[in-house]
């Protein structure tokens, strides 16, 4: 029999196993962040990890961002109320003293922002901020607000967890950004913009670093006013003044949350698929975490095609050639050949990633048939995440 053409002869760097059960049961780990670019299954992974941890006895809360409607329904969070709700795990047949609890919430960025304002400002001041037109734009449609608010919510829940003991693990699904890096960069960028330095420069250039080129500068200010509209600049300044006075500045707040994230109690999990773009994105993110000394737990590569059939792609196609193309047999063989080839390509890409990121633990998750939209399916994903025999390419031999 022809050997199955799996990429045995490709150079396989040693890929350390990503021991997810160990991470989920390590009580020193209090925050787990799932990062990755859009469309890789981050929300599903976050929810499955949270469920697994609850199964293992942790008291978990998962912050999801924009989950699929049916998944949200099965978690009991279809109402966007920005508050963690207990998930009914009764249907899963869990038993024994080791079962913990699972709460879930869907992030409402505007509500989170409003809450921050209301919690820290006098009613009059809060009203002044909440009705500011710039604040309204900022809290609903600003690039970076969602990331900032995810961090803010995380900070709040972490404090609540420490004070009340309601949770001992927070799992965060990060916003669907164009790039995973946005989660790290957006809050600081936002803070930087609102710090008021440039704003001050625009409104009173005689004090800023541009005072030396005042001849051209008044023209510039006039131009910016024309481009942006003077009302917008005025709104921004009113907002920034009020905000800065209240909270000691955006930047400080962002920095505090970032500091929380680089502590011993946090782990980053990068979620990818076995596609070129996704793994490249993961490579950037992994490098960035290591540059910033952020604690990376490893990379989960989702939707890897698997096969139990001991039949090479070439042989499958050769057999199929002699059969009518529209026979079930020919279709089954062609599908199998394509599956084997897809798998080879995915594994080759994973190996390439591993070769340039030696020592980064990885876990490969097999592609599932159908969408994950109920607790039973989530539980199944959780099992796949915890199955160490699937970890690393070596397991394929």
């Amino acid at each position: 029999m022809t050997p199955v053409d799996r990429p045995e002869d490709l150079p396989t760097p040693d890929i350390p196993a990503l021991d997810i059960p160990q991470i989920l049961t390590d009580e020193s780990v209090q925050i787990l962040l799932c990062c990755g670019s859009g469309g890789v299954g981050k929300t599903t992974m976050s929810a499955a990890l949270a469920l697994s941890a609850a199964r293992a006895g942790r008291k978990v809360v998962v912050i999801t961002i924009d989950p699929a409607k049916r998944l949200a329904q099965s978690l009991g969070i279809e109402d966007l109320d920005n508050t963690p709700r207990p998930v009914d795990l009764g249907g899963l047949g869990l038993s024994g003293a080791r079962t913990g609890s699972l709460d879930a919430m869907m992030l409402d960025m505007k509500r989170t922002f409003d809450d921050v304002v209301e919690a820290h400002a006098s009613p009059e001041r809060a009203a002044q901020i909440l009705t500011n037109p710039f604040y309204q734009a900022l809290s609903t449609s600003f690039a970076g607000t969602q990331e900032y608010m995810a961090m803010e919510k995380l900070g709040q829940l972490h404090t609540e967890a420490r004070e009340t003991g309601r949770w001992d693990l927070i799992v965060v699904d990060t916003p669907p950004a164009r790039s995973a890096l946005d989660f790290l960069d957006a809050p600081e960028h936002l803070a930087e913009l609102l710090e008021g330095r440039f704003l001050g420069m625009l409104l009173s250039p005689s004090k800023g670093p541009l005072r030396f080129m005042s001849a051209g500068f008044s023209l510039v200010v006039a131009t910016m006013n024309k481009v942006l509209g003077s009302q917008l600049l005025a709104d921004v300044q009113t907002f920034a003044d009020a905000f800065e006075a209240l909270f000691g500045g955006f930047r400080q707040r962002a920095e505090q949350t970032m500091a929380q994230l680089s502590g011993d109690h946090t782990r980053f999990l990068v979620v990818a698929t076995g596609e070129r773009d996704s793994l490249r994105e993961s490579a950037w993110f992994t490098d960035r975490l290591s540059t910033e000394n952020m604690p990376l737990a490893g990379v989960i590569v989702n939707r890897i095609d698997t096969t139990e059939v001991n039949l090479s792609a070439d042989r499958a196609l050769t057999i199929a050639e002699d059969l009518p193309a529209d026979s079930a047999e020919a279709v089954a063989l062609t599908r199998h050949a394509e599956r084997v080839r897809t798998r080879e390509r995915q594994l080759a890409l994973v190996q390439r990633f591993a070769a340039t990121h030696r020592g980064v633990p990885m876990h490969l998750v097999p592609a599932l048939v159908g969408d994950v939209h109920d607790l039973a399916a989530l539980d199944q994903v959780g099992t796949l995440l915890s199955d160490l025999s699937l970890t690393g390419v070596a397991a394929d031999r």
Binding site: M1, A137, R335, E338, V369
Partner: protein, 333 residues
């Protein structure tokens, strides 16, 4: 109109639409489809511009030209086998604002100084909608060149747009600039951009996978675009699994009731293959159900089969061929 450079072959026709906007949920392959569409449109002697706006360097990654990121030169990134050429442009909002200030306010050097102090970053980030107007404004400028008969004009412009979740907001520049200055060149340009997007030269292609979430997002995008007056020309069902089998046969297979008559295989492999086929059949059926949902949108559907080798420059040509064939009226070769 003066013949543009490179028009050494007589052009027989122009594409049905001059501006093609390609969007899709994250992970559906919209960047690859945009690139393939640009190549498909670049038939004999045609010049096509492929633009991206999200700073992901998707063009450079696919075509591997280091200069594709250079917004000023619009380098040629591909010559198509049909005798056309594709140029690449990575639009950056901050650079667009600088260009804008230079054009309308003659702020050449002062603009650079502003950039050094971060004012340009400030303006493009802080002003709601400004970024989108700057990005679409640059596309507008590239499309307009042909009407002006410029040497650097294009027969078609393909925009690799933001994902479907943000598409309507991105394209609805009118709404976007409502918080900005009511008069002046930005407001005026927003009107012109909107008019172009609503006109018959523009069409939108929504890329989706035949899966629940992407199909739902596509449906939502169609609904969100409807009131803007921007036409959706096609839905592109990417990575679809082709199969000659009828639904009833697939249902039998899914339920494990289909025997595979393959005596040349060992019993164990036959059983394993049948089990694998249960999953395959169930996926194909789910895809067909999703495709059914797409037909109810009343928009032409383009089926792009999945490419097991992954899409790179070598496999891109089969994708280009598939689009050329299925969008023959668009391409109008």
């Amino acid at each position: 109109m003066a013949a543009p450079r490179g028009a050494w072959l007589a052009r027989t026709s122009v594409p049905a639409h001059q501006l093609h906007i390609v969007s899709g949920k994250g992970g559906t392959g919209k960047t690859t489809i945009a690139a393939a569409l640009a190549c498909a449109l670049a038939t004999r002697g045609r010049r096509v511009l492929l633009c991206e706006v999200e700073g992901r360097h998707g063009i450079t990654d696919l075509f591997g030209r280091p200069n594709a990121a250079d917004t000023t030169t619009e380098p040629r990134i591909a010559r198509t086998s049909a005798g056309g050429q594709v140029h690449g442009l990575e639009i950056d909002a901050e650079e667009a604002l600088m260009e804008y200030l230079a054009t309308f306010y003659h702020l050449g050097i002062a603009g650079k100084a502003l950039d050094r102090f971060g004012v340009i970053d400030f303006a493009t980030s802080i002003a709601p909608g400004l970024r989108d107007v700057l990005l679409t404004g640059k596309v507008y400028e590239a499309v307009r060149r042909r009407q002006k008969g410029r040497r650097d004009s294009y027969d078609a412009v393909v925009l690799d747009a933001p994902p479907t979740g943000r598409l309507a907001r991105f394209l609805n520049v009118h709404e976007a600039v409502s918080g900005l200055a009511k008069v002046g060149p930005i407001a005026k340009q927003a009107d012109s951009i909107m008019a172009m997007l609503r006109s018959e030269i523009t069409t939108v292609h929504l890329v989706t996978l035949l899966e629940d979430m992407p199909v739902t997002e596509t449906t939502e995008a169609v609904a969100e675009l409807a009131p803007t007056g921007i036409q959706v020309g096609s839905v592109i069902a990417n990575r679809a699994t082709p199969s000659p089998l009828a639904n009833d046969q697939l249902e039998l297979a899914r339920d494990g009731k289909l025997q595979l008559d393959l005596p040349m295989l060992a019993q164990a492999d036959r059983t394993a293959l049948a089990e694998e086929f249960v999953g395959e059949a169930s996926r194909i059926l789910a895809e067909r159900e999703c495709r059914e949902r797409l037909t109810s949108l009343g928009v032409p559907i383009v089926d792009v089969p999945r490419e097991p080798l992954g899409v790179d420059l070598t496999t891109l040509s089969s994708l280009v061929e598939s689009l050329t064939h299925q969008l023959s009226e668009e391409v109008n070769a």
